[in-house]
């Protein structure tokens, strides 16, 4: 399943390393990644494939929530369909 992951929060060293490490640990493949600083806020979006994940989607979501909480970042993961349904015809 293809999902969009968003990471938003104060910028600091090591966010990309941490996020990609977390995804690698869960065996989630990153398909595309875009990152910028918007108004001083670190904003990253990843398109990932969870087909090979070694845990359930719920467990993955919980792990992402927990990591985001520990690092002061707002992190979400949702099916890609949520965004394509709204913005693509």
């Amino acid at each position: 399943m293809r999902a969009v992951m968003t990471v938003i929060g104060p910028d600091r060293v090591g966010i990309i390393a941490g996020v990609s490490g977390l995804l690698a640990e869960k065996n989630v493949n990153i398909l595309d990644l875009s990152q910028t600083i918007m108004g001083g806020i670190f904003t990253m979006m990843l398109l990932v494939d969870t087909a090979g994940a070694n845990c359930s989607f719920e467990a993955l979501r919980d792990a992402i929530d927990a990591w985001g909480g520990e690092n002061g970042l707002s992190m979400r993961i949702q099916r890609e369909d949520t965004f394509s349904a709204m913005h693509r015809i």
């Binding site: 968003t6 875009s34 099916r79 890609e80 965004f83 349904a85 913005h87």
Partner: protein, 452 residues
Amino acid sequence: MLDRSDILETLAMIDQQHLDIRTITMGISLRDCADPSLKRCGEKIYEKICRRADKLVETGRAIELEYGIPIVNKRISVTPVALVAESCEGGNVADLARALDRAAAECGVNFIGGYSALVHKGATPGDLRLIDSIPEALSDTELVCSSVNVATTRAGINMDAVARMGRIVKETAARTADRDGLGCAKLVVFANAVEDNPFMAGAFHGVGEADCVINVGVSGPGVVYHALKEVRGEPFDLVAETVKRTAFRVTRMGQMVARAASERLGVPFGVVDLSLAPTPAVGDSVARILEEMGLEVCGTHGTTAALALLNDAVKKGGVMASSHVGGLSGAFIPVSEDEGMIAAAERGTLALDKLEAMTCVCSVGLDMIAVPGDTPAETISAIIADEAAIGVVNHKTTAVRLIPAPGKTVGDRVEFGGLLGSAPVMPVHPESAAAFVARGGRIPAPMQSLKN
């Protein structure tokens, strides 16, 4: 990869503007549950609902998790119980409401609708038995919702049923007096009721429907309000365009969720209901949308025009986003469930007469309005008749969900909690309509009915 701003826009809609799927409602036919034994009928009802809906809540939660969009309610609607119970001999028909309640609790849904009768032209003994049991059914159950259709454009208005429903509303309030008449919040009197409405309290599964179906109701007043803030002061052409664009996006979410739920449950998809359904939360109000268009307070002059534009633009935007649109589809104006409506009513700007005018141009009708506890049954019947007339003549659904709050009067408040909210008690005209209601009979169908 999707556009970054699109992703952020969707997240803002969900996180800050209260975008949600208001309900996934599973419609279940109970036509195969009829039985001469009322007890056996209740058992069949319980068994069928539990069999059909056992995965509904679990599936709703899984969709919520994966798609990251809140699904506020999971509900069930059933065949009008008066039809199912017609052949039951003896016994207390309210026992079937208790069977519905147990089944709903077992499935974990928020509400179950369909303790209903369709009496727009006349009532059978089974219909009358069910209607008379409504106060007991609603006071003795938690999750059951009831509705009665008393008029259609084709049949006119059954004034005997209208008179009876005034008394039933009063009796329901009296039996739930300890909860401010909460039973009445679960009772809707309809004109032109629709068969695929996913919203409560008026949902039932129509006789023209399949055995089991999934209908989805979307929401999103907060999203529309936010979008209109961006076009403040601009002409109405742009206002309408903005509402349409927003409604399209909101409805696409509904269509996506409906398709996912239908596939996972192995149940056909019925309709997406395009309604703008408010909640008592700040930022999720239909009244505030109307005020954003330039009205100082909802209910002042201009409110009906603003609502007409909103209601029409929501439909135009939404209809292209879904393969099947149905249900009530339009803007809801339930007073106690809308933070802005509550504020406008408390200020005295929004009155019952203005609300009645507003129901001419939006979906449903006089909804979740608390009136004084000593309001006579005949006055409630007369209010029902007025609303039914609006529906019948304008070929639209209208409804009345009034709460004559026991022991309360103008200036008091009623508190229902949760999505049902709270409401100030609003005044009704003190002059009597008793002689009007006592006439009985039928108000004939209007010329609009003669379309063949």
